[in-house]
């Protein structure tokens, strides 16, 4: 009986006593806020970066901007995201009064943009030049070609890779606890440091991560099916 008593006691200490479940709710909230807005920034900025690079390749214009984009992607991919987070928090925004969660959103958004831009770039490459050339001889402009012909196909081709990136991003937000953001893992850490009992906080946050990544996987599958349906 004492085994079940222990478990019950441990559960009580971790979640009920002192309303400790509130830490977890706060953690879930911040994790989702960071992941969600970072994905939006990542897609938006990633699209711009890949467009600049492709436009440069195609028309031999915007050379300096394209070089900057190359450098940006190189630096972001070449350094750990934790380091980027610390630079943004301890250096860039050192003297600025800015909500700490926003620093998380920016870091992970700027980080994800580099990866998303590479995903889009490989998507554009996978389509090949033929359709672009056909569009050109029909009098369509570069942006019309991208908008109506290339991007719809890129989106479809890159969905699996993009889903992968979102899952990685969601989990990577756990790093944000390092600068004091109470995201999910930080929340469980706070609680277990009070109770000296790691079992429930860690297992429960693992289950919560799994639940959200599960939803994400289902959502991406649904999108894939929807887009495939259009073609056949």
């Amino acid at each position: 009986m004492s085994f079940f008593n222990d478990i019950g006691d441990s559960f009580y200490k971790s979640f009920i006593y002192d309303d400790r479940y509130l830490y977890f709710l706060e953690g879930i909230k911040n994790t989702l806020i960071i992941a969600f807005f970072a994905v939006l920034i990542g897609i938006f900025l990633g699209m711009i970066i890949s467009l600049i690079k492709d436009y440069n390749k195609e028309k031999n214009k915007l050379k300096i901007l394209a070089k900057i984009c190359d450098f940006y992607v190189y630096v972001i991919r070449g350094t750990p995201v934790l380091l980027q987070l610390m630079i943004l928090y301890y250096v860039v925004f050192k003297t600025v009064d800015i909500p700490i969660v926003l620093v998380g959103v920016l870091t992970f958004g700027l980080n994800s943009a580099a990866y998303v831009s590479e995903i889009i770039r490989s998507g554009i490459l996978s389509i090949g030049n033929g359709q672009k050339e056909a569009a050109k001889t029909l009098g369509l402009s570069y942006f019309q070609t991208m908008r109506y012909v290339i991007f719809p196909q890129v989106l479809q081709n890159m969905l699996p890779a993009l889903g992968n990136e979102f899952i990685t991003l969601l989990k990577d937000t756990s790093v944000a606890g390092y600068i004091g953001i109470v995201e999910l893992l930080k929340a469980s850490d706070i609680v277990s440091s009070r109770t000296y009992d790691y079992f429930f906080p860690l297992i429960v946050s693992a289950l919560i991560y799994l639940f959200f990544t599960f939803l994400l996987v289902r959502f991406m599958r649904m999108l894939e099916r929807k887009l495939n349906h259009v073609r056949s």
Partner: protein
């Protein structure tokens, strides 16, 4: 219509076109023949503004078009069809005229349906390119090129990717298009087709035009050894 002067095209250090001079008059049906690697496709792609020449000039209706830019006046049909995979047959044909404001949506659809009827694919307008055979794809690509009212259509080996039985349907459509008086420049290996179709044949080898003239002149009285060899093979 076309005036080509001392056209040179290099890829890295390889000279693919060596000072080509060429005049093409409106309404002509030109067929360019020659062994692979002779530069005929590159010449066509320069005429279609898909490659920018290393040196030399290309004039189209007295305009210098040497620098690449988009116009709907020069249509092109490709060996690999290059239909837009994400769009239906009807959307493939109407996209450019609508987006470039050449036609209203209604006009474009009406015109597209007339063409589709002409090539007997009217029941395929809502199908995607993946559903079509090679020959059907190429015929759709040809009417797509016609939709923007080009003054000239360039054909880059339009039947080379097709099975025997589909080549005929594409060549027949090209003959129908020719009857409308539009200028056509065709790179092909179909010599029988060339001799019936062409008003002028150009024989290229190693980046140069070696001979040009009527099909009769070239096929019955080849002057150069290279052409004699080519016709034998």
């Amino acid at each position: 219509m076309y005036e080509v002067k001392k056209l040179v095209k290099k890829f890295d250090k390889v000279k693919v076109l060596k000072e080509i001079d060429l005049d093409i008059k409106e309404g002509e049906k030109i067929v360019i023949i020659g062994p692979s690697g002779s530069g005929k496709s590159t010449l066509l792609r320069c005429l279609g503004r898909l490659e920018s020449p290393t040196s030399g000039k290309i004039y189209f209706d007295n305009k210098d078009i040497t620098k690449i830019h988009n116009t709907h006046e020069i249509g092109m049909v490709f060996q690999s069809f290059n239909l837009f995979e994400n769009l239906t047959v009807l959307e493939n044909i109407t996209l450019a005229p609508i987006k470039t404001k050449l036609l209203s949506k209604q006009e474009a659809i009406k015109k597209a349906r007339e063409y589709l009827k002409q090539i007997k694919l009217e029941d395929k307008e809502n199908n995607y390119p993946a559903d079509l055979s090679g020959g059907q794809k190429q015929r759709v690509a040809i009417i797509r090129a016609l939709m923007t009212n080009p003054k000239v259509i360039l054909f880059d080996e339009p039947t080379s990717a097709l099975d025997r039985e589909m080549i005929e349907e594409v060549l027949n459509l090209m003959e129908d298009v020719a009857k409308e008086g539009i200028t056509m420049i065709v790179v092909t290996h179909e010599l029988n087709f060339a001799s019936n179709f062409a008003t002028k044949i150009i024989f290229m080898d190693e980046g140069k035009i070696l001979e040009s003239g009527s099909p009769k002149e070239l096929f019955n009285n080849p002057k150069t050894e290279r052409l004699k060899e080519f016709l034998k093979g």
